[in-house]
């Protein structure tokens, strides 16, 4: 009797799981990709516009690249503060994450929520909850490449 009711229960759970799987909304992958492509592409095209502008004003390629990053980061932190960047992110998905503006956005968004813990160990520390891991892995790979370069050229 007990095992029969348990089997019934299990069957109901299985049925429920299948129902959940069927009804659960699948992410609209194609639509998301189009949004990501258009928004991410536009951010990069705007970056190219800035590079072209800075180079036509006499900056060399590397300085123009740095200047472009700085401008994009500034705009992203500003629009994140105004709440507009996250609004864009709802539609753009990876299109607003992958560009360097997404890095700046993640820094501000994660820090902002921790103001109640203070400006030094709240905001000051949480700035690095996203920037930290990103820089750790970027630096580590770069140093490894540098060491390999020394080993294989000597």
């Amino acid at each position: 009797m007990d095992s029969a009711s348990e089997q019934l229960k299990q069957a109901e759970i299985d049925e429920y799981d299948q129902l959940v799987k069927k009804i659960e909304p699948k992410p609209p992958v194609v639509k998301n990709c189009i949004w990501a492509f258009v928004v991410g592409g536009l951010i990069c095209a705007f970056g190219q516009l800035l590079i072209n502008f800075l180079m036509s004003n006499g900056l060399n390629q590397s300085d123009a690249g740095s200047g472009t990053s700085v401008i994009l980061i500034f705009l992203a932190t500003l629009f994140t503060g105004l709440g507009l960047y996250d609004e864009l992110g709802k539609y753009a998905g990876a299109g607003s994450i992958v560009p360097i503006t997404g890095f700046a956005n993640a820094i501000v968004a994660s820090a902002m929520e921790f103001r109640r813990e203070g400006y030094i160990f709240g905001v000051g520390a949480r700035i690095f909850s996203v920037a930290g891991p990103t820089l750790v892995f970027g630096f580590t790979v770069a140093v490894l490449v540098g060491l390999l370069k020394i080993i294989f050229t000597s």
Partner: protein, 119 residues
Amino acid sequence: MNSLFMAFLVGGAFCIIGQLIMDLTKPAITPGHILVGYITIGAILSGLGIYQPIVDFAGAGATVPLSGFGHLLTQGTITAVQQKGLLGALSGGVEAAAAGITAAIVFGYLAAVLFNPRG
């Protein structure tokens, strides 16, 4: 005009890859993972000499995605290693990326302090 179009096309393609990774793996991959993954893979591809050719024809389409930041770190390191040897391996990356890193931290801090969180 052509450089803008190439940047749009290639930059957009980088973002499609990120979107596919997020949609097809569901909750496992967060935006933070995407950022760490892009900078890491960009730095590796740069070390293998694969990333520079993409930058050559796509411009900002390859330097604005965070993988371009990884590329910048690696190229800075390689250049500094050729000039200063071992010390350059440690100093070159940050030197090349200094403006971006400092801007992100300083502007990021100011924005987080000056604006009120929403939602």
